[in-house]
């Protein structure tokens, strides 16, 4: 069953057609990679999923519900979490507080005026947050300031924050961009582990072919605003259209 259904999405900026008739469907429980050369429209497509951009035409349905016109926090509350290209975390707060915030957001919804209850006594949130810290192996760093973490740990923390909400769909925008090889491999392991344990559906936008081919169960290749191929990883590598898109017309 497909959890995210994108149909005939078009988006243009001025005269530039960033997306043309994009069709995409992400199957539940799989890791779906979206790849493509620079300027292919990957980020534009992602921004259409999360409410940052509204497509000119077409539909984006999540679990049968249209995401178009919804605000970022509303989309998140339906069960879509997002990991950013550069980790977006609460850098002035401690690692533990960072993880507690999504737990509260999950429990209390988009707004709750619980100004007189004490954070210390919210036992269910603490249990959840402690468990998340264990899951991403950061329990020993929980009292550190988030800004003092290494890049890889920031990514790990951001992942923990997204997972704390038990999302149905996790969107990852180049999760290994700018990482050292060791950190990249750690991230791959982390994602694979999450997938094995929790069976969360993921849509990954990625440059790094190493990451894509070690994770993805399905790959869509985007070039010049259209999906040129959507297939299993083993069929993508040698596909002539893909080589053409990446190498600018292979003969």
């Amino acid at each position: 069953m497909s959890i995210l259904e994108v149909q005939n999405v078009n988006k243009s900026f001025g005269g530039l057609k960033a997306l043309q008739n994009v069709n995409l469907s992400v199957e539940e429980g799989t890791i779906h990679a979206i790849i493509g050369p620079n300027g292919a429209g990957k980020s534009t497509l992602l921004n259409c999923f999360i409410g940052k951009l509204i497509p000119d035409t077409g539909t984006v349905n999540f679990n049968g519900q249209s995401l178009l016109g919804m605000k970022a926090h509303e989309i998140n509350q339906t069960g879509v979490s997002r990991v950013f290209q550069t980790p977006e975390i609460f850098s002035d707060l401690t690692v533990y507080e960072n993880v507690m915030i999504p737990c509260f957001a999950k429990r209390d919804g988009s707004f709750s005026l619980n100004a007189l209850s004490r954070v210390k006594q919210e036992i269910d949130v603490h249990e959840k947050a402690e468990q998340m810290m264990e899951d991403v192996n950061m329990a020993d760093k929980k009292d550190m300031l988030a800004s003092s973490l290494s890049r890889g740990d920031k990514r790990r923390l951001e992942m923990a924050m997204c997972l704390a909400q038990d999302p149905q769909l996790l969107l990852l925008d180049e999760p290994t961009a700018g990482m050292a090889r060791a950190d990249t491999n750690n991230t791959i392991d982390l994602l694979a582990e999450i997938q094995n344990k929790r069976h969360i559906t993921m849509a990954v936008i990625e440059h790094d072919m190493h990451v894509v081919f070690s994770l993805a169960q399905k790959i869509s290749v985007l070039a010049q605003g259209t999906v040129i191929v959507e297939d299993l990883p083993e069929n993508i590598k040698g596909h002539p259209k893909v080589q053409e898109a990446y190498l600018g017309g292979a003969h």
Partner: protein, 393 residues
Amino acid sequence: MIDKLQNNDRMLMTLFTLMVLAGPILLAPFGAGYPDLLQRFCIFGIFAIGFNILFGLTGYLSFGHAAFLGVGSYSAVWMFKLLTMNVIPALILAVVIAGLFSLLIGFISLRRSGIYFSILTLAFAQMSFSLAYSVLTPITNGETGLQLTLNDPRILDGANTTGSLPSTNFFGLTMNSTAKFDFLGMVLQFNVGFYFCAVMLILAFYLAMRIFRSPFGLMLKAIKTNQNRLNYTGVNTRPYTLAAFVISGMYAGLAGGLMACTDPLAGAERMQWTASGEVVLMTILGGAGTLLGPVLGAGFIKYFENIFSKINDNVLHSWFSFLPDGLEDLIVWVLHFFVGKGWHLTLGLLFMMVVIFLPGGLLQGASHIIDWIRGKKQSSSTQISNPNSMPAE
């Protein structure tokens, strides 16, 4: 660790309560033990605590909080005129009206953030000031300010037979009654108005502490660090900032109401932008985002305002009379700009020094000093206990 934190909060609260209640005794040696100044400490303390809930937690810098202070004062005085001289209804009305007013201004201003938000609040406050000063004269009595008169109805108090203006009271306890005691050559003055304000300050502080420690407070801190992430975490930030804005507006209303309780008149100048700027100074000077900082900053500014603005050229001459005439005149001439009416120059310099050298405010300075003393003790004690630990070279 959690138990320790909780104990710390309890200890902080207890210490704070004791210090505030003992104010007339503790501050008497510094020449600040008289009711008028003590009341101002409490009132501006409340104002700054409230401002800190908005600025310290969410990072939204409002330049128009004096508007809510003024609205609180006007509401309280109207209650004194129409209903009763008891302070409780006056304070309730002050808080409610300030809350509604801040809901309106916040709803509009919070559509923007950063500098645009600051400018919007400043514009609203100046608008309120001008309205109070001119157009709304029937309500605010314009330039003269709103005052009590003998002809006011005061429905609950009955007819005024004494022929003099009644004074504000708390169920019969008159606000301006003071008990004086001689103690070690000082006069200790225990004033009803001060203790009323002090209790309000303690309650305000307690409420602020609960907000700081609540999930709501955590969300406000998150807004300050990364609003984008918070949006993508499923949190709608607008109602959070608006709630913080209204809460801090209500604090300002309470402070304004208390001002009217201790001295039942209200003028438009209370809403002017300088008054809004003052609370920003207090909060930053003391330490924005900390619990004690704003109270400390408010006390600091009000104390030095009081001390410095009382010094005049005659006092300076008497201080430096031991110097030769020419030198004395020169020093007095230089210092003249820093005291009396020029005390704002001193305040400006102090503020600059704090912002440059202690960005965390006075509270950070205090903790530096404590760390330094502790560190000194520790290093000296370790040296004594391990005299042989030095590397043998």
